[in-house]
């Protein structure tokens, strides 16, 4: 259904959403990609300006998933977003065998269209997986909108 080099992935609605409460997180800044840890509740924040795909990622325990899910966050103001195949591959290489989920964060009101290069990704990384498998179950993508008041909360009275 959503396959193709430039698959448009824009079906995210309130009826097709997931609700996750992030726990308190520690920050891990890094520039050298050989030193990336995998610590629960520690978000990794690449300082390289040219790191593809994501601004930060964090592994979080989700009882509903019987284990960890690696949340990858991409923060953008753009109305159109291309997930980078090289970024998907890179993160996959660091964290093999862990369920991953890309969350694109934008301001409220941005109608986002996300292009995910599923064919490239499946062909280069998941050859062992059946090609018919729904890409959404391999690497789900969500769009999270932040309101101005959440971003800049008004002073409490």
């Amino acid at each position: 259904m959503r396959r193709g080099v430039n698959t448009i992935y824009n079906k995210h609605t309130t009826t097709n959403s997931a609700h996750v409460i992030l726990p308190k997180l520690k920050e891990f800044l890094f520039t050298n990609e050989t030193e990336i840890p995998l610590e629960v509740r520690t978000y990794c924040h690449p300082q390289n300006t040219n790191f593809p795909l994501v601004n930060l990622w964090v592994p979080i325990e989700l009882p509903s998933q019987n284990g960890f899910v690696l949340f990858l966050f991409q923060i953008t103001l753009a109305k159109k977003h291309d997930a980078k195949n090289s970024g998907l591959v890179k993160v996959d290489r660091y964290y093999k065998g862990i369920q991953k989920c890309l969350v694109v964060i934008t301001p409220m009101g941005v109608q986002l269209t996300i292009h995910v290069p599923w064919d490239d990704y499946l062909n280069t990384n998941l050859k062992s997986q059946p090609q018919k498998k729904d890409p959404d179950s391999i690497f789900p993508v969500f769009h999270h909108q932040i309101s101005d008041d959440d971003l800049f909360p008004p002073p409490s009275v």
């Binding site: 409460i21 992030l22 726990p23 308190k24 997180l25 520690k26 920050e27 520039t31 050298n32 509740r41 978000y43 924040h45 300082q47 390289n48 300006t49 601004n55 930060l56 964090v58 923060i75 953008t76 103001l77 753009a78 964060i105 301001p107 932040i146 101005d148 971003l151 800049f152 909360p153 002073p155």
Partner: protein
């Protein structure tokens, strides 16, 4: 990709007609050793131009001092004016603000804060980490499509500042 241009060998060292004499010698920064990692680090942190990378590669503290001095001169109003009226105010420092051609009109200058690290400094020193001042900056950047790069940086910076404030499990 930052490319280091090495000096080419003298013409006398090359055989006449050698294809090499048609090119500069160059090599990519491929993080092959500590010194190249350091240059990458400086580039990522300050978005410094190549000239500064080489001049200050061994005296990063000095470069930091220059940036601090420039940030100290800023106020919120001045920062907004510098970003908004790129063609009018020219007395700005390349240490803090970058001026580049607009992607849509190459004859129009477009300004942005030079790096995330400098933006963090501005937030601390100029905005004093005050939410309403950051919001004022963010709102003022929303009006102009030419300032979307900086608006994106501010949005990213502020969203990333938030995750540590989550809930206890």
């Amino acid at each position: 990709m930052v490319v280091l241009l090495r000096s080419s060998p003298s013409v006398s060292q090359l055989a006449p007609g050698s294809p090499q004499d048609l090119h500069f010698y160059s090599c990519d920064l491929i993080q092959r050793d500590e010194s190249e990692n350091w240059l990458w680090h400086m580039h990522d942190k300050y978005s410094a131009p190549l000239r500064s990378l080489f001049l200050f590669a061994r005296t990063q503290n000095k470069y930091n001092e220059f940036i601090n001095a420039e940030v100290d001169k800023l106020s919120l109003e001045r920062l907004i004016n510098i970003l908004r009226y790129a063609s009018e105010s020219t007395d700005t420092s390349h240490l803090v603000i970058s001026t580049e051609p607009s992607p849509t009109d190459r004859t129009s200058p477009e300004r942005s804060i030079i790096s995330k690290y400098v933006l963090e400094k501005i937030c601390k020193v100029v905005l004093k980490d005050r939410v309403e001042k950051l919001r004022q900056l963010y709102d003022s950047l929303q009006d102009e499509p030419a300032m979307s790069t900086t608006a994106g940086m501010v949005f990213e910076f502020w969203v990333i500042s938030a995750p540590s404030g989550g809930e206890d499990p």
